[in-house]
């Protein structure tokens, strides 16, 4: 009996020994700690500079996308045209393990493209396929292709019309289009090229090059995929087999060279801080990080404000993201960028509103690591994947210079009653 009582007492005590974590609502100042959290907000107007811009980080042919655009402007038209070259099968076709036959020509071909980005608000979007010289390469310019883009049109396809057809197929032309999924809204485009359009030139080993121009009722801007999402050509060949013409279908051919050319070319760099464009441009901002902030307990918000010197360039629908990062070492334009932390903002072409980037993470890193260079890099998040570019006033423009607004906390007076 007494043992049971002891066990009961023990159980009660164990329950009572559990401690809850409870807080009391502070009734200040009488029943609050004397120390308070002190917040300081300061604008660092003169702490940024010298700054500079650099271009050429990612070139058009290095971009994972081929950009097409037709954006008429007040003074000029932004015109970007994807170009690509697809190597042929050669002069002979392997018929069997011991036999080859001369390729006589092509009955037809099927060109497959992926439109990985497009403005769904664009109406009557048309792709015009041009045959280009097979000599196109990384040095090819927009001007050099002016002639073939004028006289070598081989097909025009209306994307909106094609997508609107049942099953996305045109029974007359043999073209088809399909939205691959509802998330990326990528469009798979398959164009049938007849004998005239799909000329298999044996002296060229069957190599072909094509270019695409865009047209639409209003602004047109698309991005075509490359590599795994790139242009693919399926030949349907006629081959001589011991005097008999036979049909053969080789494996599909992808494009070893895919790029885009555009006009007008990007404006030359000046004293402004350019970010984006093709080839992509970066800007470096060197920050004199004040010791009184570095020594503060904690930075809780830091905002970089940048005033555009001109309206952001680019297709209206192609808002692009720029990011602020720090560098491991400040080597100017070749500074290795610290990939760990970055803060971003979206740039809307045509806008001249002040751009604000929350760079709290970056300043917290500087405060924690005094050896870290206090240099900010502004760059496009997707380099050379948008034609858009923005230019900000530099630090020498006193009225519009970049500024940092920093909110930080002083050390709490711990241990003071």
């Amino acid at each position: 009996m007494t043992r049971r009582r002891l066990a009961l007492v023990g159980a009660v005590l164990l329950v009572a020994a559990c401690v809850e974590r409870l807080t009391a609502p502070g009734q200040c100042p009488d029943f609050c700690p004397s120390g308070q959290i002190t917040i300081v907000d300061t604008l660092l107007a003169g702490s940024i500079g010298p700054d500079s811009a650099f271009r050429g980080y990612v070139l058009a042919y290095e971009s994972p996308l081929m950009l097409g655009a037709h954006v008429p402007g007040a003074t000029d038209t932004l015109d970007s045209r994807p170009i690509f070259r697809i190597n042929g099968v050669g002069g002979r076709f392997i018929l069997s393990a011991t036999d080859t036959g001369a390729i006589l020509g092509a009955d037809s071909a099927r060109l497959q493209l992926y439109i990985v980005r497009r403005d769904t608000a664009t109406h009557n979007l048309r792709l015009q396929l041009y045959r280009l010289p097979i000599t196109i390469d990384t040095g090819t310019t927009f001007g050099a292709l002016a002639a073939p883009f004028t006289d070598s049109l081989i097909r025009t396809v209306n994307i909106d019309t094609l997508l609107a057809r049942p099953g996305g197929k045109d029974p007359v032309t043999g073209d088809s289009a399909a939205v691959m999924d509802t998330v990326t809204r990528r469009v798979f485009l398959s164009l049938k090229l007849d004998t005239a359009a799909a000329r298999y030139v044996v002296p060229d080993s069957g190599t072909v090059a094509y270019g695409i121009r865009l047209a639409a009722n209003n602004f047109a801007s698309i991005a075509l995929g490359k590599a795994a999402l790139g242009p693919v050509l399926q030949w349907y060949l006629r081959v001589d087999s011991l005097g008999t013409t036979v049909a053969r279908t080789p494996t599909t051919r992808s494009a070893p060279f895919a790029s885009f050319v555009f006009a007008p070319p990007p404006a030359r760099l000046d004293s402004t801080l350019a970010v984006g464009g093709v080839p992509s441009a970066h800007s470096l901002l060197r920050v004199a990080f004040p010791k009184f902030i570095r020594d503060s307990s904690q930075i809780i918000r830091a905002t970089l404000s940048l005033v555009p010197a001109v309206a952001a360039r680019g297709a209206p629908a192609d808002s692009f993201v720029i990011e602020a990062r720090t560098v491991f070492v400040d080597f100017g334009g070749k500074s290795p960028i610290d990939p760990r932390l970055g803060d971003t903002t979206v740039i809307h072409p045509g806008s001249t509103d002040t751009v604000k980037i929350e760079v709290t993470n970056l300043l917290q890193l500087w405060a924690a690591d005094s050896t870290h260079p206090t240099t900010l890099v502004l760059r496009p998040q997707a380099e050379a994947q948008f034609l858009g570019e923005i230019r900000f006033y530099p630090s020498v423009a006193a009225a519009f210079r970049p500024t940092l607004q920093v909110t930080f906390v002083r050390r709490f007076p711990f241990g003071v009653p």
Binding site: G10, L13, V19, L22, C28, F412, F414, G415, V416, P417
Partner: protein
């Protein structure tokens, strides 16, 4: 004829020790953030009660005469044999201010110690007790004009820890009527303090700062126990602590003077089954600075029945040393308790219940405290 404790023997004592050990070692699932008196938030903290459970359940009146209570040193002279004791208490606190009541809870282990004779007339003791509880957790809701916008936020300021009084004491019985004692007190402890601010606008990162604050100090105490007549004793005691130094990362953040203390008590035992006591104490807490007050405290209590299973009760009153305003908050308490001896008194469990009320500056605290003590005489 009943043979008391026959079955209990070693097993009962063992069970009691296990239960007490379980109780004392029971830990919460989350980090401890107990809540002591809200009056102590702006002051040094909540002063501990240097009493065993037996003394505390008599309102503290038996404290000056209790060799297991670290209040006075002279009663150690009568400890008789090696004795270890520990106590634990769980408090449920209702803090009412401006019509709003908040329920708070804390578990503490305010006393642990060991004492024993080292000669025919000399005994020594070592142990610790809580000098200042410094655990509290305050949440605030306010707003701040930041970047041209009123930003609402929630603050949570937390202190978790205490300052312990580590005592080394010696006592001697000089004669049948007189015993004296003295002690050295090392004050040591730490608190983990955290200050956090969460803005409603998450663009502002959460402010989170924390620090470990270490405390140290030193004190001495002395006391005299006089047997006036058979069954009648008085005690007088005094203690002086120098200062409490707070250090954060080896930098002294505060130095606070600590009080002088003095007190006395009267014990009357007209029969072996009836004991009465009363005591009073004065502490010069006003030395600690603004918001601190000198205090007077009194207590009276009684113990009835055999020492094997007595009934105890008592009351106490006086002032709390810290609080806003111009006068010290007041406190009154009543307590009741009992004990149970096992194995011919080799193990004792004491249980108690205390009801405390503190008032001052618009705040009223009402506290239920359940106390458990374990005493072992191997």
């Amino acid at each position: 004829m009943r043979r008391p404790d026959r079955w209990t023997g070693g097993r009962a004592a063992g069970t009691a020790v296990v239960l007490a050990a379980l109780f004392l070692s029971a830990s919460p699932p989350d980090r401890l953030s107990a809540q002591d008196s809200q009056f102590g938030i702006r002051g040094l903290g909540t002063p501990g009660r240097w009493e065993s459970v037996r003394s505390r359940t008599t309102g503290g009146a038996f404290g000056p005469f209790d060799p297991l209570s670290p209040l006075t040193d002279a009663p150690l002279a009568d400890i008789g044999q090696l004795t270890a004791t520990a106590a634990g208490g769980t408090s449920n606190r209702d803090a009412t201010i401006a019509g709003t009541t908040t329920r708070l809870r804390a578990t503490r282990f305010p006393v642990m110690g060991v004492a024993g004779p080292v000669g025919p007339r000399v005994a020594v003791a070592a142990g610790f007790t809580t000098y200042l509880d410094k655990s509290w957790d305050v949440t605030l809701r306010d707003s701040l004009l930041l970047r041209g916008t009123l930003q609402p936020y929630t603050d949570e300021i937390v202190s978790d820890g205490s300052v312990a009084d580590v005592r080394f004491a010696v006592a001697a019985r000089l004669s049948r009527r007189i015993a004296i004692g003295a002690g050295v007190h090392v004050l040591a402890g730490s608190t983990r303090e955290t200050a956090e601010r969460r803005f409603d606008d998450s663009t502002f990162h959460t402010v989170q700062q924390s620090a470990d604050v270490r405390y140290d100090g030193l004190g001495v105490s002395g006391s005299v126990l006089l047997g006036i007549a058979p069954g009648l004793s008085i005690v007088a005691w005094a203690r002086s602590d120098n200062r409490l130094r707070a250090q954060v990362a080896d930098t002294t953040s505060a130095v606070t003077d600590l009080p002088l203390m003095a007190g006395g008590g009267l014990l009357f035992a007209p029969s072996p089954s009836a004991r009465f006591a009363a005591s009073a104490a004065w502490r010069s807490w006003s030395k600690a600075g603004a918001g601190a007050f000198d205090t007077w405290n009194w207590s009276a209590g009684a113990e009835f029945g055999s020492r094997r299973m007595p009934i105890r009760f008592g009351a106490r009153g006086g002032q709390f040393p810290f609080g806003p305003g111009t006068t010290a908050p007041t406190e009154t308490a009543a307590s009741v308790g009992t004990g149970r001896a096992f194995s011919q008194g080799r193990a004792v469990i004491d249980l108690g219940l205390e009801r405390l009320e503190r008032r001052g500056a618009g705040l009223t605290e009402r506290v239920w405290t359940m106390l458990v003590g374990i005493t072992v005489r191997p």
